[in-house]
């Protein structure tokens, strides 16, 4: 009798698994002050950060042109995210992710969330057992923080901070860093210089919700429209080398420009 496959694979190597213990999580505020690049902050006390497969639901709020209360009707994927931290550090973590101070100017922090705009980008950097050598990274972009529970048990335990995003998470190859550049618009200037040379991220035409091969997203917050958050551009802007060039909707006074991309780690 012939055997269709007689290959015996070698055992997995010691580095073929990544453990959460050796991952480090970083975040930046979506509405960070203009800086290229924005500095990522390390997250402490994390037990796990999980993102599941997307669900496809309607979002019911409606879009009002010209109104400050901008609500968007979306049909499309929603990824649920859970951030588990040691329960003694929930308040501190919530404050950091929301960009608030807890204990100095304000001593209270609600567990419910009243902000349905993206708050943070998260990067999880997976490393080998040495807590140093990069294996790969996972990016969760435009995370919206949701209402969170808080339980206290008799044992050492963690507590969950809930969130969701409408944009796909993605993995980043070994040796590449995630970069977030933010600019206050220079009026009538169609070019902006990125802080690093973007790597080739994906072939955007092969995927839904991807518009650029060399950036996760480019956003523009239009001050003349009283926008409270940046809106993703799909056309009218491109990146070549370190130069971002606007061919439409050139950012004007009071506008803000954002770009999330990857570059070879320094």
């Amino acid at each position: 009798m012939a055997n269709p496959n007689t290959t015996q694979l070698a055992p997995p190597s010691v580095d073929d698994v990544v453990l959460g213990q050796h991952a480090i999580h970083e975040y930046v505020r979506v509405e960070a002050s203009a800086l290229a690049p924005v500095v990522w902050s390390n997250m402490k006390y994390v037990q796990s950060i999980n993102i599941g497969e997307p669900t496809y639901d309607f979002e019911t709020p409606l879009f009002h042109m010209g109104s400050k209360d901008k609500r968007v009707k979306k049909v499309g994927p929603t990824w649920q995210v859970t951030i588990n931290v040691l329960n003694g550090k929930v308040g501190e973590t919530l404050a950091a992710l929301r960009g608030e101070s807890w204990g100095s100017s304000n001593v209270g922090i609600p567990l419910n969330s009243s902000n349905d705009e993206p708050q943070v980008h998260l990067v999880t950097i997976f490393r080998k057992q040495d807590n140093t050598t990069h294996v790969f990274s996972r990016v969760i972009q435009d995370l919206i923080l949701d209402d969170s529970p808080f339980d206290v048990s008799m044992q050492v335990s963690d507590s969950v901070i809930n969130g969701h995003t409408y944009y796909p998470p993605f993995l980043v190859y070994t040796g590449y860093d995630v970069i977030y550049d933010v600019w206050d618009a220079t009026p009538s200037t169609p070019t902006y210089t990125l802080s690093s040379t973007p790597g080739s991220l994906i072939t955007a035409s092969n995927y839904n919700q991807w518009d650029f091969d060399n950036a996760a997203h480019i956003k523009l917050k239009d001050n003349s429209d009283s926008q409270t958050m940046g809106n993703r551009m799909t056309t009218g802007v491109s990146i070549s080398g370190v130069t971002m060039t606007w061919t439409a909707n050139t950012p004007a006074s009071g506008d803000k420009v954002y770009c999330l991309y990857v570059a070879a780690a320094a």
Partner: protein
């Protein structure tokens, strides 16, 4: 001002020993007993007129981890008591058993009782809270068999984080 990672076994041991030793020099009924910093050999035991409380070195039994960073350790230590005075009954060992449990069950008292200890430097009138030790629980005393039935021994397991 806390137990040192590179000397963690030594430093935890010293702090718990000095805490109990301070009680045996200053606080009734502890003044009826003698603290010794390890399991005593019989010839050492015979030198003491009082029942001894021996404090063995801590053993790591677990970690409290967070992703990306160093862990905090959980430890178990044996605290034993040995009454070799051959007074005829176990009453004194039962009192020692009770005093040890009462001390470590009371988290307000045990974490704020002052003692002096030398680690990297001498800390005078310090406390377990200040030295970064957190008592979790103490279990009940187990009877340990002795060669002479007129002697009495018990041992506890003390669980802590540092």
């Amino acid at each position: 001002m806390s137990v040192r990672a590179a000397y963690i076994i030594l430093d935890i041991h010293k702090c718990i020993y000095e805490l109990i030793d301070k009680l045996t020099t200053a606080t009734s009924p502890w003044t009826r007993w003698k603290a010794v910093p390890e399991y005593p050999m019989e010839d050492i035991l015979k030198q003491f007129a009082k029942p001894v409380i021996y404090i063995e070195k801590p053993v790591k039994i677990g970690l409290i981890q967070h992703q990306g960073g160093l862990p905090c350790g959980r430890y178990k230590m044996k605290l034993g008591a040995w009454d070799d005075r051959k007074t005829g009954g176990p009453e004194e060992i039962d009192i020692i058993d009770s005093a040890i449990q009462n001390l470590f069950d009371n988290h307000q008292t045990v974490h704020t009782t002052q003692f002096t200890v030398t680690l990297d430097q001498t800390y005078t009138n310090t406390t377990l809270i200040t030295q970064g030790i957190r008592i979790e629980e103490i279990d009940g005393g187990r009877e340990i068999a002795t060669v002479d039935i007129k002697e009495f021994r018990i041992e506890h397991n003390l669980y802590l984080r540092a």
